[in-house]
Symmetry: C2
Subunit: 432 residues, 2 copies
């Protein structure tokens, strides 16, 4: 055998076509940046779970085995435990959603639900519609099924339904029908924008008109720290495919989430589930049952939410204090993220290595568009760092930004623009 | 909107092509049969975990939170915790495999690893090679990627490498190259057959010669209760993709397994992992670390193994006592299953409803062939029931079998054969 081939990749010619299109895991790289010493990470999407009552959670964990015995350690069914699904129904009721435990499947995190949507709906080349920007992990999940992703711009009211309608008409005129519309109506990741009620209603009208399933991804719905709660799409239309998760209201480490959807559709999802991992961990389901039924989880969540608000306020104040005038940002009423928009010549992906040198990390906006078309924005996460460290991070970031903008002005005054800036077009850089 | 369409499946025209080929989850149906009152289930693949030291496991679970704190409840990285991978390396060392924790990824059960193999290797129509019969969950996982599966018959020494060579030649002459060869060398599920050393060596020779990756699925390697341990394929060739799991040596409810493979290949698998579910549960990894490092897990396993041997012996004795002469069965030295072969006119799938009426369940052999070509065999699981119940189950089963065979003889004597029997051909029904 040829050793030099082995040490490289002797199976390079054996991989499936989809391997070429599967997106590199920016999420993973961002986790890696977190661990660099001295870096203040505004990049990751980690919830602050330090308000969890650890003694009580430890006792729940012990009782998973001591009380439930072998049930927590044996295989389970692919839908997930009925006791757990009933528990989740109570959490959904808090959000105004009346759910039937028989119209629910438990998944290993919402990420797995996104994978299943791709698996059940998408042939290569199929059209789907997402908000622009949207969750980079969703693009990563869908990309394994090689779809054509159309992003619809947002403004401060969320997805531009006028642009959505135009896109649906355009596709219909070409005989194309999107397989689904994927939205994050509450505190969208990455933009922190919430879809207004008129937009929610109009989105559902259009979905009905064109008979396209709507996927409502709602990891942050219970993380509202300001303003008034808005009715979920799922409450407005029982056909909506609704995704929820324990990750932001309890513990991401459990990898426990739920999809609520019409029964006939869940039969397909169930096939995907058994082929993918047989079942979600019964141990983790039982731990969640104990936690949500026996611990005052809403009290713990209130503590987290007040921290998030404090940190969001600290970030907004720091942005106001340090950032130049021609930079704008969103003002979220919940969730973990806000979105900063720079003048279009400022490429944030190019800015990132410099920022990490200065000790601050963020998510470049390009990662949040499947076509990577917007390069002058960034996602900042305020959930995980203290107000003091957030202020320091924004100060450091402002230095890099100001350097970059001064450089641009110097080029401009000298009658020249750097190559990377000229390649940016203003027209393609309009965004929420 | 049209309500009658909604109550049926208004998205029927939106599903991906792969949904048509995704195998119905026989595993799931079998779990359902388990819960029928009075049924003795020889169908499922449940390990007996009643020998687990529950007090110690409960204490491990408590300490996951009480000692490890938030680490067990927060997101983790997609490779899996390094501490957990190092712990797994010690388990692998017990099996004679020297593994590097950097050449390992943790998965949510081995089922997920099988899904990833499909995802990374398979375009629709690609060829893969499996033993015949083989694990029905593997066919289910692969089927989502629409491969052409070639099964190679086994005899008492495992996969017939002469037939494998002929198949590889045949495919090569058509310009086709299988993407991988999937085998379960130790106590194959469903047949309970172990691949002999000469066959292991010959298999690897052929794989080298044709440069085809070999996947060694080894959930039962540590469940040998008789005979001598055989060297793992992975120990013979570091390029083998090796799959192991906690499911048969600790607790399936944790959904924790590992793939050991060349680093360049794991980079592809890692992309699949982050797109599929971000990471395996850190809580479950930490629980496994505590268990394997602090509890005498091998002592608990010895208890399970002695039970399995006792139950296997009870099953063999009952088969000998009750089953007619022209029925044969394998005699496993480990694992959870044995395989019964009937005269080819006896269709075991048709037998199943009658057997369940009589209060016994099994897996029809057809489910264990991707082309469902062999219908006169069955998988029996001896791991989960007591010797007394196993004897009773085999007695009940023998009544159904004898009825069926008497019916066949009556038809034969009357010069007629029932339609279902005539459609069986002897030549296609030869198997291990």
């Amino acid at each position: 055998m040829d050793d030099s081939r082995i040490s490289f990749d002797q199976w390079g010619d054996l991989y499936a076509d989809r391997v070429q299109t599967m997106r590199k895991s920016e999420v993973r790289d961002l986790f890696a940046a977190l661990s660099r010493p001295g870096v203040i990470a505004l990049s990751g999407g980690l919830p602050d779970i330090s308000s969890l009552p650890l003694d009580q959670v430890a006792e729940c964990a012990r009782r998973c085995v001591a009380v439930e015995g072998l049930r927590s350690l044996q295989y389970g069914n692919s839908d997930g435990r009925i006791e757990c699904r009933k528990t989740i129904c109570k959490i959904l009721a808090v959000q105004g959603i009346e759910a039937d435990p028989d119209e629910m499947i438990l998944t290993s995190g919402s990420q797995q639900a996104l994978d299943f949507l791709g698996r059940v709906f998408l042939n290569p080349g199929d059209d789907i519609i997402c908000e622009g920007p949207s969750y980079l992990g969703a693009f990563q999940a869908f990309s394994a099924y090689e779809p054509s992703v159309h992003t619809i711009d947002m403004d401060e009211e969320g997805i531009r339904t006028d642009l959505l309608e135009a896109k649906l008409k355009e596709l219909a005129s070409q005989g194309r029908k999107p397989k689904f519309i994927y939205v994050i109506p509450n505190f969208n990741n990455p933009a922190g924008i919430t879809m207004s009620m008129p937009r929610r209603l109009r989105l559902l009208e259009l979905a009905h008109q064109y008979n396209i399933p709507v996927v409502e991804d709602d990891p942050y719905g219970l993380i509202r720290f300001e303003g008034e709660d808005l009715i979920r799409l799922k409450s407005l239309d029982s056909n909506v495919i609704y995704l929820g998760t324990t990750s932001k209201i309890f513990a991401p480490g459990l990898r426990l989430a739920w999809m609520v959807a019409p029964r006939h559709f869940l039969e397909r999802i169930n096939l995907a589930k058994s082929g993918s991992d047989l079942c979600t961990s019964p141990f983790n389901m039982i731990l969640a049952e104990h936690y949500f039924n026996e611990v005052d989880w809403q009290a713990a969540l209130e503590v987290s939410k007040s921290r998030y608000k404090e940190r969001k306020d600290a970030m907004l104040a720091a942005l106001e204090e340090f950032f130049p005038q021609d930079v704008t940002w969103t003002k979220p009423e919940g969730g973990l993220f806000l979105w900063v928009t720079f003048p279009p010549y400022l490429n944030t992906e190019q800015l990132l290595p410099r920022a990490i040198e200065e000790g601050v990390a963020f998510v470049p906006g390009v990662y949040c568009y499947p076509d990577q078309r917007i390069s002058s924005s960034m996602r900042l996460c305020y959930s995980f760092e203290t107000p003091e460290r957030i202020r320091e991070a924004i100060r450091r970031l402002s230095l890099c930004v100001q350097d970059r903008m001064a450089l641009y002005r110097a080029f401009l005054e000298a009658g020249a623009l750097p190559e990377s800036s000229r390649s940016e077009s203003y027209s393609s850089a309009r965004e929420c």
